[in-house]
Symmetry: C2
Subunit: 188 residues, 2 copies
């Protein structure tokens, strides 16, 4: 399967549970671009309804792909070929559908999804066996809203350590994306 | 085994291959603290010979453990209980030896270690079966120097995607630490 990633800045929750739009973080884009390129993610969408934030991301992409960044660090520029911007996850999904001729399977991630989840190994096998695009969804802030989760096709369990090593699971979204891509696509 | 992590800022290479001391990055500390807490890493050492950088790290730790950070986000403070500072990897190793009564096994990581490496599954089994501390070493910048690598006991292969998904492997150190902890200690 062709894998796509969306880093969703809206609709997500804040610490108090309110639905908010988080700010784009420069380092998220860098880390996710590098991880996306490493695991052959076809497109890594930065999703935000804020036009100014989307144009900020576009400027960062241009810096590394066309601007001074190309001579400073061409390897980084290569990673940035995978980064896209979208005003909503639906827009990202339509963009993928246009490219692949099929709507992607929406697979949500989160630390504590109160739903029936698909085991990592099952999704890994499905990725190897099937065609058709898959869109992995990551929420920023304190995670994707319940209403949003409801619209997804599948849900992955929260990343955790083996039993006996505690139950803290407050990873950064940068760590979570990296680990989940490795669980699904790593050479283990 | 009790797992420890060292994020090494010296001796590492820069883009040109020179041996340098890199600057401490605030977000590295946050992401690695959260990943360390999630995988029950007993101590995550920020290693730098620069005294000013060590006191900066100590101030960041204090902010989240004793200062305003404790009320703003107590969960983050909990992650910071795992963070330590050390002037050198040898100092970190001696600190672990004092705690555990045994010198830790030094296990180096890197994108392209030109050495005989131990497979992740073998080290995972060893962690489950054996006692005694293990120190995972991560280089910042463009990686640990050859002289430093020579002093380690074991070397892990660079993190890569499954065959057919290309051979780019320029992950951020934040991504690399997260993925390697998950490969060794995750609940897959």
């Amino acid at each position: 399967m062709d894998i796509y990633v969306a880093l969703v800045h809206h609709p997500v929750r804040n610490r108090k549970g309110d639905v908010v739009t988080t700010a784009v973080t420069n380092l998220d884009i860098h880390d996710l671009a590098r991880a996306s390129r490493t695991y052959d993610v076809r497109g890594m969408y930065i999703v935000t309804p804020l036009e100014q934030q989307r144009s900020l991301v576009s400027r960062i992409i241009a810096h590394w792909q066309e601007g001074e960044g190309t001579t400073y660090n061409p390897i980084r520029g290569e990673a940035f070929t995978r980064v896209r911007v979208a005003a909503s996850t639906e827009d990202a999904s339509l963009d993928i559908e246009t490219k692949c001729g099929r709507r992607p399977l929406w697979v949500a991630t989160g630390a504590n999804l109160d739903r029936e989840t698909i085991p990592y190994d099952s999704l890994r096998e499905r990725i190897e066996a099937e065609d058709g695009p898959l869109l992995l969804l990551f929420g920023t802030g304190w995670g994707l809203t319940d209403e949003f989760l409801q619209r997804c096709d599948q849900w992955l369990p929260g990343v955790r350590a083996v039993e006996g090593r505690g139950d803290y699971n407050h990873l950064s979204v940068r760590s979570a994306v990296s680990i989940i891509l490795d669980r699904l696509l790593g050479d283990r």
